[in-house]
Symmetry: C2
Subunit: 492 residues, 2 copies
């Protein structure tokens, strides 16, 4: 016998016949009040049904409100056009097919790209403001209030050769951004919550959903939540939408499904404990890509682009001018999270101190040979790497990793190294419940589980494996809406 | 609505109340007649209950009988002792904890290592003969009838520094092995089948299990199989043991869970279609490490050890003298299955033609510079790699990847390259159902699903992620037995 309940195991549903009475009810009950839940609530209200969002904390927001706020949109949004970028749904689709694999979700990407401009307009209708200006410098997110930025390496190798590049990271505008008082994600959630609640969605806070309730036919008809120590049953006349996030904050699930991110820093909330996924699995829901995770390298892009990223063998392993989230995945999944940055004084000084976010060289040496020894790299390995890089950089080429010419310059003395091994990567999981493009949770036999929907990081969505910033908020809001419509359309 | 039944989805059980009558019955019903099923049958018969193995093909064997036949055993087996190797359960455990991660299964490894000598004795009692001689040369499996070989890189970096090395690949003896008439796995299955059937286990062939049958309390009480176009219900008075293998032959599951091995050559049978996993998932069974897969590099170890394996960037990426299955995983999971072998004429000629299995250089050049160009590697990259390797190899060192001195020698003209990119890797999946150390399938709430057991590659077992040859047959037979005992002990 198993000694104890495992916190990674599926959660068994409760039979409706065991529910004595309903303490609350709504047509559509939404579990979790992040961007997916809020978008689902708005969409369900558009359909005229009543909506109850059940949130375990004291207020909406979730991991969404902690996010940088980039939303991956394209295909020719007004912001892209105003900034002078031609983009098409096809170019967006081609990029995402290449960048979000292995195993990209073609069905979801297709509808996501085709309807991206419409989704942009919807966000604007919800009150989200996107300033139609482009921020060009390497960054995680702009320190300014600019509304458009590259967030996926679209203009870096190999993607620049696969699809016409365009920036697609759209960022909600705010004042005083430099002060970091609020994130772009907070700004997004502010407008989505106001829209949802303004449209009449009800919110029950401090209520933690513990079980789904199923009727004798296997249809989901409600949830059981715990609120202030009491158990309450909440009836869902049309459907339940699971939208309480991923499982990065569940160590047991991480060790079982995504062990490479174990022990890293969770980018999210305690609520990212896999509850939605486990609730679905308790009904036999299919899951996908549970290993996939984003892992953000704790780095300063403007320092990284012109420098060399090297692994524990003193080798480069990626073009340093690509999206930093992609670099993080490469480091965590393929280099055991062991790497460091090699640069020179000129690169370091070229970035204003305020933009370095405290980064400074761990080692400084007059020669690469000395630096290599100080860094504990294999004898001769870093020297060979720098020599090869410098030789080609002098000609404006990088035949090994195809960094763009503007970031290529031979390193010269004095050299520096920044230790990145041991720094915490900010991680969150990407795998989850399998859903149709309408948010229906796929269950036994490959058919939707009646009455059950899901959206956001509880599902395997746009970022199947490879990541681009903005695909979480983009996926959560886009497919959250579709789940809301689909749940509202279930006969009550 | 989902348009069609997805072949990766969980399989819904049938309610016992919908079963009109039972066409067959036994105390313990075993799904699949590979090494796990056969071992479970023997163990259940030891307990005196009656056993029915349901096999979809016309005979037992499955993927097990196609395997090389290495069985990972240690801790001081008579064969190890006869060959002069001191081994302990602790050394075996320490190695497997390091080599089978990330996310090694500590509970299973602990009992597996502690009882490995007993398991060896049991295999011998079943009639399996292990010749107490050691084969030392680099190989996938010995071309001789020697009974012991290194199969996990125990004596290569980094493992040689983690635990005292010992060879643990035990191979069933056979005559005329060089003729490859039968594999070691075939020899294993021959004895296990004879023992199982000799002990009174019944076998129903040509019957494909399609569903589990559950009673109103959720307990598994049988299966539904299809046999010659007819549906038959098979009652299991005590338990059902799922042992029909992994999911490498299910492209839909592969694309959803293990996309990096998509399109590679399946090492197994059509039966490795994930049926056992999907049957368990239909009852809410927990799964683990679905991404994990072994991927055997199509290579000749005696050529690989003294040569250089380089990726598409012209860089080395692993010590070439480690277990070739480990190299395959590194290539497929971390190098996009793109790599080649760089060697010289002396290395090539040092391996007798009969031992080269047809391998020959794709390119031959007088200089590394020419070879690099012929191979399409980045200008200067291979030259830097060979120069660094040669410089240290001349001193008997490999500070970058720690290859052992006996395989280190500077490469010299004429040089050769063997194209490995595009060759099919032999793959099989390692992830599956979560089971206790007694083979109980973990379900909703983290508790065993009553009446349901599993073993072999339908489960996540000893090789959680990292692989060593012999851990599949070892895991399947060892935990198959434990599942057999546990199922037999269920009150009938």
């Amino acid at each position: 016998m198993a000694d104890a309940v495992e916190t990674s195991a599926p959660i068994e549903p409760r039979a409706a016949s065991d529910v004595k009475g309903w303490e609350a009810e709504a047509d559509v009950v939404i579990v979790g009040y992040g961007c997916a839940g809020a978008s689902a609530a708005i969409a369900a209200r558009e359909s005229g049904v009543d909506v109850l969002i059940v949130e375990r904390t004291g207020a909406g927001g979730g991991a969404s409100s902690m996010a940088g706020g980039e939303i991956y949109l394209g295909g020719g949004t007004p912001v892209q056009k105003a900034c002078g970028f031609d983009d098409t749904p096809q170019a967006m689709f081609d990029f995402l097919m290449a960048a979000t694999g292995p195993g990209p979700n073609e069905a979801k990407l297709s509808v996501y790209c085709d309807k991206s401009v419409e989704h942009f307009e919807w966000l604007v209708e919800c009150g989200v403001v996107f300033k139609p200006t482009f921020y060009a410098a390497p960054c995680w997110e702009p320190p300014t209030d600019d509304g458009l930025v590259y967030t996926g390496g679209e203009n870096a190798w190999p993607f620049s050769e696969i699809a016409p590049p365009a920036p697609r990271g759209h960022i909600p505008q705010m004042q005083n951004k430099r002060l970091m008082e609020k994130s772009g994600g907070w700004m997004l959630m502010k407008h989505l919550s106001a829209t949802a609640e303004g449209a009449g969605a009800s919110v029950m806070t401090d209520a933690r959903v513990a079980k789904l309730v199923v009727d004798a036919g296997g249809r989901v008809v409600g949830t059981i939540a715990r609120r202030f120590g009491e158990e309450i049953a909440i009836r869902a006349r049309r459907g339940v939408i699971l939208a309480s996030g991923g499982f990065a904050a569940n160590p047991d699930m991480v060790s079982r499904h995504a062990p490479r991110i174990a022990g890293q820093m969770v980018l999210g909330t305690d609520g990212d404990d896999g509850t939605s996924i486990r609730l679905g699995q308790g009904l036999g829901a299919a899951v996908a890509h549970l290993e996939a995770s984003e892992a953000a390298l704790p780095s300063v892009p403007s320092l990284v682009y012109p420098s060399l990223l090297v692994n524990e063998h003193g080798q480069r392993f990626i073009n340093e001018d690509t999206y930093c989230g992609r670099i993080g995945q490469a480091a965590v999944f393929h280099q055991q999270a062991k790497c460091s940055l090699v640069l020179d004084e000129e690169i370091f000084e070229s970035v204003p101190e305020a933009d370095r976010w405290g980064a400074r060289p761990t080692w400084v040496c007059a020669t690469v040979e000395e630096l290599e020894a100080e860094m504990g790299l294999p004898s001769g390995a870093l020297q060979a790497t720098v020599e090869l890089y410098n030789r080609h950089a002098a000609d404006g080429h990088d035949p090994v990793f195809h960094k763009r010419p503007e970031y290529l310059r031979p390193l010269k003395s004095p050299y520096g190294g920044v230790q990145l091994t041991g720094l915490p990567y900010a991680v969150f999981t990407l795998g989850g419940l399998v859903t149709t493009v309408n948010g229906e949770v796929v269950g036994p036999g490959g058919l939707p589980i009646q009455g059950l929907f899901a959206a956001g990081r509880a599902t395997s969505g746009i970022p199947s494996w490879g990541y681009a910033s903005g695909t979480s908020l983009g996926d959560g809001t886009f497919f959250g809406r579709r789940a809301g419509w689909a749940a509202a359309a279930v006969p009550g």
